[in-house]
Amino acid sequence: MTTSIRSDFDVETSTAAFAFNLPQRAGRLLWAPMLGMALMAFPVGLLIAGVRASTIQQGGDAATIAALGHFGPAVMFIGFAAVFAAVSFAIARILGTLRNGSGLVQQATGGTVQALRMLPTAKAFIGLMAMAMMILVGAVIAHFIVGAAILGGDASALASAETWSIRLEAVRRVGVIVYLVAITLGLATIAEVIRFQAIRLRELPAEAAR
């Protein structure tokens, strides 16, 4: 493998198509399980909300209502963490497909295979995605801890249930916006890779003729 320097793109070269890299392999493997997890979590979160609304209507136990007020968002945001991860993994899978597919086409022409080195947007995409996932999972864990403490009879946890709700909602929102920025960067990477492909394809006939 050699390093090829272009003035317009930072590429790596090879005589054979590049395989999926590690994040792309993870994307290919994990998008579907993550989607499955999200599709299970969303209805459960809605069900807990229904139970909580019914408990409030019937004048139920304050501790139960407060605890469900933490368990419901926790489950719902397991769903959001999973579905945003699924979106991110699906984007990584597309990037892998573009990298490998473009390589196979270049290889078929008998020319040098060029692939973009990992773009800064791709690196930021992976970093922000991991950060967003940790923020959301952290908030979910905190919701479960507070909910469990309330159900366990901790009076101070019950007294601070509303404060924790506001805090954790704020943290969840940060997790979501970081995920959205990560997804934008992932898609921006796809756009740039397709732009490279459009230019690279036009170079292939001249290279094949040599």
């Binding site: 979106v87 078929a108 959205l180 934008t184 230019i199």
Partner: protein, 318 residues
């Protein structure tokens, strides 16, 4: 690892027509604006939490809660508009990529091999239809081409209109709590309808990408005089459409629910309804996002099929 210098192709052959990066950069810019807005709201929410912890006035917490909700949801929407702009950049570049393939393929294609009969066959990527001509766009692709922009326009009105209303309601908390409670319900209903609409707009843009891949695949194959191989609509694409429609309907239902809550005066009834409507609106967004995952997976499959097809044309001429 050796290092060599490669001179890029001079774009006399038309590669200069590849779209520039401005739309993509605007997408990233919009997302970062969204991030900034959300961080301001985050600071506001933490101050509301501190007031609650200190036993401060409930009206203050409610007022902060209103504008932080409005700002955060508008920020989420802005970031999603950034995603939509980036998807639009992808649509344009797929068209440019197809032009490049049409330019290069006649010079790369092997001598035409055995002519394949029209019909259907199964490939590792799914069922494939073989036709003489490029396939017509599917109904969802035509619909997506028409609907993505109105969806985003309506989303902008709902999201930013809701944000303005959240500021108004925040100012009314101390002076007219009843009116503020009613406005709060409208803010939540309107803004989450906006969230649903912007995700629907994104879904339509993804469908446009799928439509562009299908159309460009047909054009490329006919341009070199070959029969057109097209992937049949996979189950993931059908499920994507179903989830998108279901999610949008849930968001409309939650708006109706909040409109009902806006007319209530009993605090107990409002609390019960709001307890359910909050997760319901999130459930709707979850369905829309799940549909988007399936659309992305379908795009990956379509791209995989295109590469396989191109290799077949280059190496075997069929």
């Amino acid at each position: 690892m050796a290092s060599t210098t490669h001179t890029p192709a001079i774009p006399v052959d038309g590669s200069g027509s590849v779209p520039s990066t401005s739309l993509r950069q605007r997408g990233i810019g919009l997302s970062l604006i969204g991030l900034g807005g959300a961080m301001v709201a985050f600071a506001g929410s933490l101050s509301a939490a501190q007031i609650t912890a200190d036993g401060g006035a409930a009206a203050d917490v409610a007022a902060i809660g209103l504008w932080t909700f409005g700002l955060t949801t508008a920020a989420f929407g802005t970031a999603k508009f950034g995603i939509a702009a980036t998807l639009l950049a992808i649509v344009r570049r797929i068209t440019a990529r197809a032009d490049s393939i049409k330019f290069a393929l006649p010079q790369l294609k092997a001598a035409t091999g055995q002519v394949m009969a029209t019909g259907e066959y199964d490939s590792p990527l799914g069922a494939v239809t073989v036709t003489d001509d490029a396939p017509e766009p599917l109904l969802i692709h035509r619909f997506a081409g028409i609907m993505w922009l109105p969806m985003l326009a309506m989303a902008a009105m709902a999201l930013y209109g809701g944000f303005v209303l959240s500021l108004v309601a925040s100012g009314n908390v101390a002076t007219d709590p009843q009116l503020a409670a009613s406005q709060r319900a409208w803010v939540q209903g309107l803004q989450f309808l906006g969230e649903g609409l912007v995700l629907s707009g994104i879904s339509f843009l993804l469908a446009r990408i799928l439509g562009a891949l299908r159309a460009s695949g047909g054009e490329v194959q006919t341009s070199v005089g070959l029969k057109v191989h097209t992937l049949r609509m996979p189950a993931s694409a059908k499920a994507f459409v179903v989830l998108m429609m279901a999610g949008l309907m849930v968001e409309i239902a939650q708006l109706v629910g909040y409109a009902y809550v806006a007319g209530l005066s009993d605090a107990g009834e409002i609390a019960v309804a709001s307890t359910f409507l909050g997760p319901l609106r999130e459930f709707g967004l979850g369905l829309l996002l799940s549909g988007i995952v399936l659309a992305l997976a379908t795009i990956a499959r379509a791209l995989d099929f295109q590469s396989t097809r191109l290799v077949s044309i280059i190496t075997r001429g069929q």
